[in-house]
């Protein structure tokens, strides 16, 4: 197979002329979650989860519907706070910084921790180019040459550049579903977040588009820490270095992917991956 353009993209050659940091080279765990519980009502949706997400690798979160995997993912960039009445206890550190410290603004957290959603959601009134650069423009970047460079780089990283380079002014929503999802990934990586969260990013895509997104995840982990929620266990085995299994809000097992699937330690994990429930 041809090496995709993303593998050769000169990520580190972009001189930092903006306030946005380059991807972190830190070897500490990206996320350090200690005893995290999240409540929407009295009953916890996530119950006492302690988990360390290694840097520059792909971590999958699997589990049956309603197990709290999406909720846990959303508390990693404080997106769960958009739900009225949501509460969270415990601590989450991103490379040592407490994300829930009182002086921390959630918008700053979300600039460090990018997110890709279940359904592609490009901004319908913006062109492809504008969709990719919107995050930078929100950060006050006005330098056109720099925006253009970052846009091309983000689109190359998302393996979309060759397909759209001649149509950059077309609306983002004129693309196919799979292309739209890669556009959303480009939009997220254009601001060079330290971590990328993905909430079932391929669940609305056909098999070909899914495999493109999975290839992309494999490419991105050279530069990024990725946490992906998926209901598709095959997908977890294909893309993830380590996998966490959630059940009824609790973290049941967290292990290297191969180990978790070949040699699960917990009976619930085994029951789930062998298809006895879920």
């Amino acid at each position: 197979m041809e090496p995709s353009p993303a593998t050769t993209a000169p990520v580190s050659t972009v001189t930092a002329t903006s306030a946005i940091p380059a991807p972190v080279q830190d070897t500490r765990p990206a996320f350090d979650a200690q005893n995290v519980s999240i409540f929407y009502t009295q009953k916890p949706a996530v119950d006492g989860v302690t988990l360390q997400v290694p840097s520059r690798s792909v971590t999958a979160i699997i589990g049956p519907s309603g197990c709290g995997k999406s909720t846990f993912l959303r508390c990693l960039n404080r997106m769960h706070e958009l739900v009225p009445g949501a509460r969270m206890t415990g601590t989450i550190r991103l490379y040592g910084d407490d994300l829930y410290a009182p002086e921390i603004d959630p918008t700053v957290v979300r600039r460090r921790v990018g997110m890709v959603f279940q359904k592609s959601n490009p901004f319908p009134t913006m062109s492809i180019a504008e969709n990719v650069t919107v995050g930078l423009r929100l950060n006050g970047v006005r330098d056109r040459a720099f925006l253009r460079e970052r846009m091309e780089q983000a689109l190359r990283m998302s393996a979309l550049w060759d397909e759209v380079k001649n149509d950059l002014n077309r609306p983002g929503i004129s693309l196919s579903g799979g292309q739209q999802q890669r556009l959303c990934i480009a939009r997220a990586v254009a601001v060079q977040p330290e971590v990328l969260l993905m909430d079932e990013p391929a669940s609305a895509l056909d098999p070909i588009a899914t495999s493109k997104v999975e290839e992309l995840i494999n490419d991105l982990k050279k530069n990024y820490t990725i946490v992906i929620v998926t209901h598709n266990m095959q997908q977890a085995t294909r893309v993830a270095d380590q996998t966490a299994f959630f059940y009824l809000g609790k973290l049941i097992e967290f292990a290297p992917t191969r180990e978790l699937f070949n040699n699960p330690r917990q009976p619930q994990t085994e029951a789930y991956i062998t298809g006895r429930f879920g």
Binding site: P84, T107, R111, V116, N121, P124, M126, V134, P171
Partner: protein
């Protein structure tokens, strides 16, 4: 699976009845519009035959001498309605944004209820309120302030050997007791506020949460989320909400009649009294004794309908033209 013999065969007859029923009901609307137009046209044909275009372009309205020029009313209707829209739209859309994006959830329902209450107040009550509360306040405090600030600016500026009039003209001249174009516009603005707010709120609520999350996920603040995810998604719908409000404003009668001053005159000053198409019909229909006078008032009705249709067509055109703008940027 159940036995197919037990199931009723798909009925085409029912479907046909359903289709025809809905078709006829929809036709009813069309028939109504045609009938209204026909009656108005029939009643006003004499006037147009007698006065021709002069009826629309003439600015002299004096039933005693038999001169009928509708221009001051057209002017009054357009100016008061557009001004009302300019006052109401920012208020209504900001309120709708507050209600859908910012207000604490406990507060939302009571606020919505109160706004909907506003639209349940009868027009004549608004008029009374305007006469007893609003006009004294406007004529004693607001109008003098406007007159001495904005109205004190130069009334015209020289440009290429021409004197170009400035907006200062709008706020010059005597302010009187407050019966004026501006008062009329303000009371219309109050009255169209609820409809624009309600429709805008529905439009904003229809913006998918996924759009907001996309913006939040990039680290946008609430204002940025509203700007890039909500308003840009909803702008066409919001424009539609404004046009609905404008439609209401054009036909608004009672409250305006009570405060606008009812003087058929075209004046640049917003402090001077005006007259609208709807007001003149309401005021003078009972005293229209001659045939010409009566026909002229019916013709005013036709003009009002035409103005409303033209304004709506213009709005459609603007929407259509702006539709091609997406993606054609740079």
């Amino acid at each position: 699976m159940s036995d197919p013999k037990q199931m009723r065969p798909a009925s085409r007859a029912r479907d046909a009845v359903f289709q025809w029923f809905c078709f006829l009901m929809a036709c009813g609307v069309l028939v109504l519009i045609v009938l209204v137009g026909y009656v108005l046209w029939g009643g006003s044909a004499d006037v147009f035959r007698k006065f021709g275009w002069k009826f629309l372009t003439g600015s002299d309205w004096d039933p005693n001498t038999g001169s009928f020029g509708a221009l001051p009313f057209i002017f009054g209707t357009l100016v008061s309605s557009l001004l009302a829209l300019a006052i109401a739209a920012p208020l209504a859309i900001s309120t709708a944004i507050y209600l859908t994006e910012l207000a604490p959830h406990r507060l939302r329902q009571p606020l919505v209820f109160m706004i909907e209450m506003l639209s349940a107040i009868p027009s004549v009550i608004y008029g009374l309120w305007a006469i007893f509360i609003m006009l004294p306040w406007l004529s004693q405090s607001v109008f003098p302030l406007l007159r001495h600030s904005l109205g004190a600016l130069p009334k015209s500026i020289p440009l290429f050997h021409h004197e170009i009039p400035t907006p200062a003209l709008l706020f010059s001249g005597p302010t009187g007791a407050g019966y004026s174009m501006l008062s009329g516009a303000i009371i219309i603005a109050v009255m169209i506020l609820p409809i624009i707010t309600s429709v805008s709120r529905e439009i904003l609520r229809s913006v998918p949460d996924l759009q907001r999350e996309a913006a939040y996920g990039l680290g946008a603040t609430r204002w940025e989320v509203t700007r890039i995810a909500v308003l840009s998604y909803a702008k066409k719908g919001l424009f539609g909400a404004m046009i609905l409000g404008l439609g209401r404003a054009l036909g608004e009668t009672m409250a305006v009649t009570m405060v606008i001053g009812n003087t058929p005159r075209i004046s640049p000053s917003l402090f001077s009294p005006g007259y609208t198409l709807a007001s003149v019909i309401a005021n003078e229909f009972a005293e229209a004794t001659s045939d010409d006078y009566l026909h002229a008032l019916v013709a005013i009705g036709l003009v009002l309908m035409a103005v409303t249709v033209v304004v709506n067509l213009c709005a459609q055109l603007i929407l259509k033209l702006s539709g091609t703008e997406v993606g054609a940027v740079r």
